[in-house]
């Protein structure tokens, strides 16, 4: 192929498609290359799509997109072996326009989203792997693919090739990922009739619930589990950092089955039929793991740029927003016909001024702190459960005495100073 494009986007997830869509919309000639059979066939997510950043690409997308349920309730469980401390928020304002976020199934959603790009003029080619960027005079000028005569040229190449981004690594934008920079997550989609979901989760039709589960869901390892409601299925998954998985010698699918059979979880899934099993890595290295995101003729977006806020399980929104910022920088670069790093650094600047890098900066030490101090997951969660149990069990002990016992329960084993240090460290990591 000797044809030259303005933009080649590698990958058809939320980041790549957001960028491809906006570039095509502004009149640029865009080629989008997807290695899967169709967009979404290689993509995995627990399932939360955020309204704000999606609507900034496609206004009122909820009228047309294949969504599951608008989320009206977000629950958090600090789970022990036979108990859980729960906390959450339910608000009916989230059940109506403009909504806050939605559960989605990625295969149908990504396919729909990429089709929107095609309608704007994006040329989408599936079943094609980009094997490397073509670099001439220190500038990316196109890509090589695994098709015969598969070299294609462009002014700008957008790397939206996901968490593993072999291309960003080839360009030297980052080193190989380390086991503590990624979370290995596995999930199942479990079919369950809509009425059962509504009853079990206290929902109406077109209302959804998310549950994030800490503590025994990962057997006390650094990670979380989730249970999200779709229309007539549930997504249940669990992940820990790959390093924790290795250290604890956990088989991820055994951990998933442990979660599914947990007495706090099992009744919610009872009678369901497993429909799909999926594994994926989540880039959780945060601020310090973000690679170089702009070079001569190239930008990096979404998971490929490691843009995930693990603490708030935000990723798809950062993908969309980074894709949009990259598109805006590319459109400006095209006006100037200047695709140098200096020109494309407008994207980098926008990214660093946005909520994305501000949020990642806020939590920049969190992953490290929790990785090296697993007591928050394997000691404090059980202690919280014991405290609540003690406080709410009516056994004739006075409330003041109970409070005393609870405080003693926390400080007795570990010592007051250790507890204060632990609390301070955790606060510092997330403040």
């Amino acid at each position: 192929m000797s044809e030259k494009f303005d933009v080649i986007v590698v990958g058809a997830g939320p980041a790549g498609t957001a960028c491809a869509y906006l570039c095509a919309k502004s009149g640029l000639k865009v080629l989008q290359i997807e290695r899967g059979e169709y967009p979404g066939s290689k993509n995995v997510m627990g399932g939360v799509l955020y309204r704000k950043q999606t609507e900034e690409i496609i206004p009122e997308f909820w009228k047309d997109a294949p969504l599951e349920r608008p989320i009206v309730e977000q629950r958090f469980w600090m789970m022990d072996k036979e108990s859980t401390v729960t906390f959450g928020y339910k608000g009916l304002e989230w059940a109506q326009e403009p909504y806050n976020n939605f559960t989605v199934l990625r295969a149908p959603f990504d396919r729909w989203f990429a089709q929107k790009g095609v309608e704007q003029g994006v040329l989408l080619i599936n079943e094609t792997v980009v094997t490397e960027c073509i670099v001439e005079n220190n500038k990316v000028v196109g890509v090589k693919t695994d098709r015969p005569d598969g070299e294609i040229l462009a002014d700008v190449v957008v790397l939206a090739d996901g968490v593993n981004s072999l291309l960003a690594q080839q360009l030297g934008f980052r080193k190989e990922l380390k086991p503590d920079e990624v979370a290995l997550s596995v999930m199942e989609v479990i079919n369950l009739p809509k009425e059962k979901i509504n009853d079990r989760f206290n929902l109406e039709d077109n209302q959804g619930c998310t549950i994030e589960i800490f503590g025994d869901s990962t057997k006390g390892n650094l990670g979380t589990a989730f249970l999200y409601t779709n229309k007539d299925s549930l997504n249940i998954g669990v992940g820990t950092t790959l390093s924790s998985m290795m250290k604890a010698k956990l088989k991820p699918y055994d951990l998933l089955d442990y979660l599914k059979n947990h007495p706090m979880v099992a009744p919610l899934l009872a009678g369901g039929d497993s429909a799909e099993y999926l594994a994926h890595l989540i880039p959780e290295g945060g601020f310090h793991s973000v690679p170089k995101v702009a070079g001569n003729g190239v930008v990096v977006v979404g998971d490929a740029a490691q843009l995930v806020n693990a603490i708030h399980r935000e990723g798809s929104n950062m993908a969309m927003a980074s894709g949009k910022m990259a598109a805006e920088a590319i459109i400006k670069a095209k006006e100037r016909e200047d695709f140098s790093e200096a020109s494309l650094n407008k994207y980098r600047e926008a990214l660093y001024e946005s909520f994305i890098m501000k949020d990642l900066e806020k939590y920049k030490d969190a992953a490290h702190t929790f990785e090296h101090h697993p007591q928050y997951f394997n000691e404090y969660v059980p202690m919280m459960n014991q405290a609540m149990n003690k406080f709410f069990t009516v056994d004739g002990t006075s409330k003041r005495e109970k409070q005393k016992q609870i405080v003693k329960g926390f400080t007795g084993e570990k010592g007051t100073l250790t507890v204060i240090k632990d609390l301070y460290r955790a606060w510092k990591a997330v403040k």
Binding site: R106, N126, L166, L177
Partner: protein, 94 residues
């Protein structure tokens, strides 16, 4: 029914396997001599890696293409590529 084994889980998922593996053990001797723990056989979410006494068996046909083995191999002994375009795992749902 909800699944209870990795075999049942893998059976749910669609694969369009290439005839050639996209995962390559660079040096089988390293697995045998320098890697007593063989953690890939534990953490791989699809049980792609199975130790068969003297050799690492790689069942690439069931790979989810997550990348864990490349990152987690303590010996950096796994060459990890994407399967040929259109091949490998095909997620239908999430």
């Amino acid at each position: 029914m909800s699944t209870s084994t990795i075999e049942e889980k893998q059976y749910l998922t669609r694969f369009k396997a290439d005839t050639k593996s996209h995962l390559t053990i660079l040096d089988h001797e390293i697995c045998q001599k320098s890697c007593p723990e063989k953690l890939c056989t534990i953490f791989c979410p699809a049980e792609v890696y199975k130790w068969e006494g003297t050799r690492m068996q790689v069942g690439y046909e069931g790979c989810h293409e997550c990348g864990s083995c490349r990152i987690g191999c303590p010996q950096q002994n796994i060459k990890w590529e994407y399967p040929k375009g259109g091949h490998g795992i095909v997620f239908r749902l999430a």
